[in-house]
Amino acid sequence: MATAAESLTAFEPRITAFVCNWCTYTGADLAGTSRLQMAPNVRIVRLPCTGRIDPLFVIKAFERGADGVIVSGCHPADCHYTAGNYHARRRFAVFRELLDFMGIDTRRVTFSWVSASEGGKWRDVVNETVGRVQALGPFEAYHELAGRQG
């Protein structure tokens, strides 16, 4: 069993990112075409809009072993569907306070607006989140609760 210290340095957090197709996903594409290097811990799940991102996704991601979650989409007023991000903003403002109130460390969840032309900002969101969650270590509390095998 790696000692706690070793496991921390060797610890590579698993981050699931729920992003909107029109802005952040395209921003991540731009980060790709610009060859901006970033931590490989993030797996992107594409959704049409942040309006489609359901708190159940975040809960299920933690249940299935994620150590951190990113939710990102278009800046207010830029939404391709005009209002999806406004609904998401309200929904996640409440959800985040609920998570905090039930003792889930909200530093494990990053919310951001990344537009299609902000490849650099996406890289910063990824690297900053991976660094933050790496410092927090594996989400033992949730995973023990979940009794994950392996």
């Binding site: 790709g32 959704l47 830029d78 569907y81």
Partner: protein, 673 residues
């Protein structure tokens, strides 16, 4: 058991360099439900696509996953390939292992693991894909063009000539845009009015173009093929149908000294005015802020303070009580062609830009910008085409031109190059030399960017034949000294500081989009960059489209553009629209929401959050007609597939095809393996 084919692309070495594609293919071959898994150098090539078709046939595949570039690049390509092999195209998805993996990671082992994860995620998703049929919706074969400059005019003419109706909306009283203000145009020095006016008349007389000048777009709803646009026809206080454009009213007006916007504040105009002689439509408009009648009325005067124009009008066309009116138009496509404005130093500065006070624009007399020089040089201009100093009307013997004022300057202005200034400054020096034979033009520049056809030769001509003195360096400061302007500059080639006496200074200020472009973009839900320029769908492959289907872009509202660019983009946008209109019906992605009426409890949160009003109410009755319950139902023609209804629905009774709960759940689950 699913029979899914996985195709891992090397993309030359774009993916292959950092992702071990063979190992990804091997790993996926072991994944449950995968019947075929190979890697290939160029999946999007013909042989690559043939691999897919062959595998579908041989292995009876019921799903295809291509682990390659971003779906934004080639999803359509591979779906078309699958359709070619009689596999429903919506059973094919892409795993983005290039932009989201190989290009952004160096560590080969971890990049390969990530690629395997991403491919596995999409395989799990595809297991839950349903065969979908594209949705067909009728197309309104009418187009809306916003902006009546050369780009808007060209687009309107091309579309109308292609047989479709066009609504052309122009904010100013007349179409023509900034091009109508120019004297002559580079690189051929042909007179701007001569090549533009015929086009403007052609628009005015075209049977299929409905010209709405002095109007603005108020609201836009709907989607490609079915936009509903509410347009505000601003009140001119002149009845366009009875007015014959004789101009008697403009001569009778008592207000003579209002700075003319068309002449860039160098010449006067009256309160009731026609912007320029060749204006189309040639109907005057009353400037209510400066008209004595309206100013008095605004202060509550009951008696008419003036009415000279009405008295002078033989046809009784003046109508002081005319109000703004609204018109609703149904169109199938929209072209944004709102053009540019120049960076106005010290005047209405956008927040954050405070640079260039040291160039004295607005404080030191005879310091003007490019458009003002055009008005001086223009025959219909305030000085009848003679180059005279605005301060004392004398002919300047020495003019200093400053390039890149506000452009290529991330610290104080905009970071981008405005593309047209090198050309029009060279043109200005030539016009100056032709009109003032003993005049000496000096140009301070950083580098001359004249990359168009015949462009560099044009600038060389300005230097070699027309004696323009080009000094490579910036100007530090300029100030008034007596009636001469002292220009402190630097010549980087000789390494000497330079102090010149000038009679006039022309600043080549940066090109910026029209004010209010952000509000218009938000009405069209089109994205724009931090400067306000509209974002094209793809800089190289879809330059005249935007990410919002059905909305196209042409001219300087997308980026600094000269006239050839604008016309080319306008025709490109027009051909895209004519292509769109050539289909009887429009095919739309079937990623729309479906309500399971059995589970829906009729709380209608979905109806409240739907931005498109795609949710309708349906009564469920038993055989005897008793109302059992009222449920929600989605109109597939209106639904755009944003999915907000599904995330809002407490009981998850609505599913968005392409992003169903089952598919997202499968993707999240795949990440846990």
């Amino acid at each position: 058991m699913a029979r899914i084919g996985v195709f891992v692309c090397h993309c030359g070495e774009n993916i292959g360099r950092t992702v071990d594609c063979a190992r990804v293919a091997d790993a996926l071959r072991e994944h449950p439900g995968v019947a075929h898994s190979v890697d290939y150098k160029y999946m999007c090539s013909d042989p690559g696509q043939a691999l897919i078709k062959q595998a579908i046939a041989e292995k009876r595949l019921d799903g295809v996953v291509v682990a390659a570039c971003s779906p934004h690049m080639h999803e359509k390509t591979f779906r078309r390939a699958c359709a070619g092999a009689d596999l429903n195209p919506f059973l094919c998805e892409m795993a983005n292992v290039r932009e989201h993996c190989s290009w952004i990671h160096e560590d080969r082992a971890r990049a390969t693991d990530k690629a395997i994860d991403l491919a596995r995620t999409i395989v799990e998703k595809v297991k839950h894909n349903r065969p979908l049929q594209t949705i067909r919706i009728p197309v309104t074969r009418r187009a809306l063009v916003i902006g009546g400059g050369i780009a808007g005019i060209q687009a309107a003419l091309d579309i109308a000539d292609g047989g479709a109706e066009v609504v052309l909306v122009e904010k100013e009283p007349s179409i023509g845009g900034h091009m109508s203000q120019l004297s002559e145009t580079f690189p051929t020095l042909d007179c701007s009015q001569c090549i533009l006016t015929p086009r403007m008349v052609e628009v005015y007389q075209h049977p299929r173009i409905k010209l709405m000048a002095y109007s603005e777009v108020d609201a836009v709803s709907g989607y490609i093929g079915n936009f509903t646009v509410k347009i505000r026809q601003k009140a001119r206080a002149v009845d366009a149908s009875t007015c014959n454009g004789c101009g008697a009213c403009t001569k009778a007006c008592i207000q003579r000294k209002i700075p003319s916007e068309f002449d860039e504040r160098l010449g006067p105009r009256s309160a009731i005015y026609v912007p320029f002689p060749q204006a189309v439509p040639n109907t005057p408009v009353i400037d209510r802020a400066n008209c004595a009648y309206f100013k008095a009325k605004a202060k509550g005067a009951t008696k008419a303070a003036c009415g000279k124009c009405a008295e002078a009008c033989s046809r009784g066309a003046i109508d002081f009580d005319q109000q703004d009116s609204f018109v609703t138009e149904k169109v199938g496509a929209i072209v944004v062609a709102t053009g540019f404005q120049l960076y106005r130093i010290g005047a209405d500065q956008p927040q954050g830009l405070t640079g260039y006070g040291e160039y004295g624009y607005g404080t030191v007399p005879d310091v003007i910008d490019g458009l003002q020089f055009e008005r001086l040089a223009s025959a219909s201009g305030p000085t009848g085409g003679k180059i005279l100093r605005p301060s004392d009307g004398r002919e300047p013997k020495r003019i200093v031109f400053l390039q890149c004022v506000g452009s290529r300057d991330p610290a104080k202005g905009m970071a981008y190059c405005s593309k047209i200034c090198c050309m029009y400054v060279a043109k200005h020096t030539m016009l100056y030399r032709h009109k003032v034979h003993d005049g000496q033009a000096t140009v301070f520049y950083m580098d001359i960017r004249a990359a168009g056809k015949g462009y560099d030769e044009f600038t060389r001509r300005a230097i070699e034949e027309d004696g323009a003195r080009y000094v490579r360096g910036r100007v530090a400061r300029l100030y008034r000294d007596g009636d001469v302007i002292k220009v402190h500059g630097f010549d980087t080639l000789s390494g000497e500081p330079l102090v010149l006496d000038a009679d006039m200074v022309v600043l080549a200020t940066a090109m910026r989009p029209q004010p209010g472009i952000e509000a218009l973009a938000q009405k069209l839900s089109v994205s724009y960059d931090q400067h306000g320029f509209i974002n094209e769908a793809h800089p190289k492959l879809r330059p005249v489209e935007t990410n919002t289907a059905g909305v196209f872009v042409a001219g300087a509202c997308q980026a600094p553009r000269d006239i050839p660019d604008s016309v080319a983009m306008a025709s490109a946008a027009a051909s895209k629209i004519l292509g769109l209109f050539s289909q009887a019906e429009l095919e739309r992605e079937p990623t729309v929401a479906r309500v399971d009426t059995g589970l829906c409890s009729g709380c209608f949160h979905c109806e409240r959050v739907c931005p498109y009003g795609a949710v309708e109410r349906r009564e469920i009755r038993d055989r005897k007609g008793n109302l059992l319950k009222v449920v929600a139902e989605v109109n597939p023609g209106v639904c755009q597939g944003c999915g907000t209804c599904q995330a809002t629905c407490p009981s998850k009774s609505v599913e968005l095809d392409g992003f169903t709960d089952q598919q997202i759940w499968a993707e999240i689950n795949a990440l846990a393996l």
